[in-house]
Amino acid sequence: MKLFCEIYDYREMIFSLIKRDLKGRYKGSVLGFLWTFLNPLFQLIVYTFVFSTIMRAGYDKYYLFLFVALIPWIFFSTSVVGGASCIWAQKDMVNKIYFPREVLPIAHVTCQLINMLLSFIVIFAVLILSGHGMNPIALLYLPIIIVIEYILALGITLIVSAITVFLRDVEYILGIIVMAWQFLSPVMYGVDMLPEEFQSIFLINPMTSILIAYRDIFYYKQTPQMSTLLLATILGIVLLIVGVVVFEKLKRHFSEEM
């Protein structure tokens, strides 16, 4: 409890770090903050071109099908892979100043979350302009899905960021694991393409149900089945608790290791 109060006291630090990250990233470029929107937009244009003219996939408006799952996936993967080094990267600060170390992974994951939300603006624009449209009731479920994904990403990031301080390889190993994970998750394809016997195994992967839910909301315009999300939610909460405990144990030795 004391920990949460302390993190709350340092909320301004979290905000500043996020702001520094978001604003600092495109500093010096002519278009500046606009790149935050341009990046996903150009990505979308490339996907549209590739999958509607070069490789025709079996889905209607495949670029949308892909994009609504890819953006949440990028949130998750950048949180975890980039988050692994988020403490190591700030070692000057960690070595010299006291602050609750949890601030760093929290700020990192939140920053990725904000990037995703900004990309959603592009998604909304495309959904409207392409005439695909939206289901307002389904959209009400969106915040719940985001929170579940956020909890999951934060739990994992807490664990990996703490371990990376002691074992630098984790960062690189994670790059490979997450890439494999992407192909094992329904980012580029739908679960319906899988053979029956694999589907249940696939659902153990918490990202499967989360990505399905995003796709239900944006692409199929239907309310997601909350029951399938139960496993992801429980797993997310368990990982977050484990993450907090592991982090709490390891953080005392951060400075000595760096």
Binding site: E12, M13, F15, S16, K19, R20, K27, I97, R168
Partner: protein, 446 residues
């Protein structure tokens, strides 16, 4: 915890692993687990102290004694192996300045980032913003990106933020050398102001002067334990005395090393020469060899030593009053100069021997000779030794060189030997100038 204590440190110990070969990757951990050698370095061996609210204390000690580790433990950057530390209230540390600064962002934006890292909320920063900007003296530059700042401006901004954090306990590590003299004075005034408001301050510094200006208590940490604790006035002289002795030891070791090096490699280097002359008498054989070399070099350089050579100094020794060879003295101590000479040809005229002491910047501090001092019947007819006793040498701390000379008829140089020896002075009192003048203060008590 006692009610008036704001910091309580009890029996803290800390041990660091010092890796001989540190492997942080899986491969290294798995394959070379036995090769990952490390030694343990016990930095702190049980430190105890209390700090009362509003008090300022200074931690002193030589490099590696554990004072910075103690400060890091107080900051909770690292944790003790045993013992515990209790601190009440908000702790702010001036260990790292400019934490989290982003070079492309303006000074103003960076104030928010930096202050938030110290744990300030937005409202608090809003309230302090004007103070911080005013204190930093940056004026319009505050809206420019930090990367355009000079290093002085950068540090001023960073210091302004750090010092304007309203903390109950302020921990400071060796950072008061920020900016120009004016800004430093301002920082000191600000520190005093903060202290007057009831903030507790802990300073780590090598500058005893700084500690004396602010702290009412000094703690000397030595080899991981507290050696002396008390008012700066009590602790610092003891500490300086110890450091002086330590320096003597180092100087002696260095001298021996140089002397050994000399025999192997007679280089015409000024500094080496000096130490050579000081030490040639350490060992008979060496002394002779070294002396010959020195003479040759002397002739070459022709600046350091001249004269007709009828009589020559063969050894110049600096001794303390017990007759022990040393080069480092405390201001006010007695110094003996022992001059051995060899007579090659008896000089019939009046002979005089003299000395001169120069500060390292060339300032002539003192000089005299047997004529000035009216030594009756001074003759140098056969090899011998002259000892000059200098009583209560009041030269201030610094490095001095000694010239010695033998002259005939007041003007013919026989052996004029510049920079024959080096004397280093140290002092535990911070008075300034060339030499100390004994004094006392008289004033009317109201």
């Amino acid at each position: 915890m006692k009610s008036d204590n704001i910091i309580e440190v009890r029996d803290i110990t800390k041990c660091f692993k010092v890796f001989v070969d540190k492997g942080n990757t899986v491969k290294e951990r798995a394959l070379f687990s036995k090769r990952r050698k490390y030694d343990y370095k016990q930095v702190l061996r049980g430190i105890n102290f209390d700090v009362k609210k509003g008090e300022a204390i200074g931690l002193i000690g030589h490099n590696g004694c554990g004072k910075s580790t103690t400060l890091k433990l107080l900051t909770k950057i690292i944790y003790p192996d045993s013992g515990n530390i209790k601190i009440t209230g908000r702790v702010s540390s001036l260990i790292e300045l400019g934490a989290g600064f982003h070079p492309d962002m303006s000074g103003r934006e960076n104030i928010y980032i930096n202050a938030s890292i110290f744990g300030l909320g937005r409202k608090e920063i809003d309230n302090k913003l004007d103070d911080i900007i005013a204190f930093s003296e940056l004026e319009e530059s505050i809206n420019h990106p930090v990367r355009t700042y000079s290093s002085g401006m950068y540090m001023r901004l960073a210091f302004s933020v750090a010092i304007n954090v309203n903390a109950d306990v302020l921990l400071i590590d060796e950072i008061l050398g920020v900016g120009d003299a004016n800004f430093q004075a301002k920082c000191f005034n600000k520190l005093r102001e903060i202290k007057a408001k009831g903030t507790t301050i802990v300073i780590v510094s090598h500058s005893l002067g700084q500690i004396e200006q602010i702290c009412e208590r000094s703690i000397w940490i030595h080899e991981g334990v507290i050696r002396v604790e008390g008012t700066p006035r009590e602790v610092h002289p003891v500490y300086l005395d110890y450091m002086g002795q330590k320096r003597e030891e180092i100087a002696e070791k260095e001298a021996v090393r140089q002397a050994e090096k000399e025999v192997v490699l007679p280089v015409g280097n000024e500094i080496i020469e000096i130490s050579k002359i000081e030490n040639v008498s350490l060992d008979g054989d060496k002394s002779e060899n070294a002396q010959i070399n020195t003479d040759e070099i002397k002739e070459d350089q022709n600046k350091k030593r001249w004269g007709n050579g009828h009589i020559r100094f063969v050894d110049v020794c600096i001794l303390d009053k017990e007759g022990k060879k040393r080069n480092v003295f405390k201001t006010g101590s007695d110094i003996m100069i022992q001059l051995s000479y060899k007579v090659n040809k008896v000089v019939e005229n009046d002979v005089a021997m003299g000395i001169g002491i120069f500060r390292s910047d060339g300032m002539h501090c003192y000089g005299t000779n047997t004529l000035i001092d009216k030594i009756p019947d001074f003759r140098l007819n056969e090899d011998g030794m002259v000892v000059i006793k200098l009583k209560n040498v009041m030269l201030m701390s610094g490095v001095y060189v000694l010239d010695v000379a033998i002259e005939a008829d007041m003007s013919i140089p026989i052996d004029f030997y510049r920079e024959a020896a080096v004397i280093e002075m140290y002092s535990e009192i911070n008075d300034v100038g060339l030499c100390r003048i004994e004094h006392e203060w008289q004033y009317e008590k109201n």
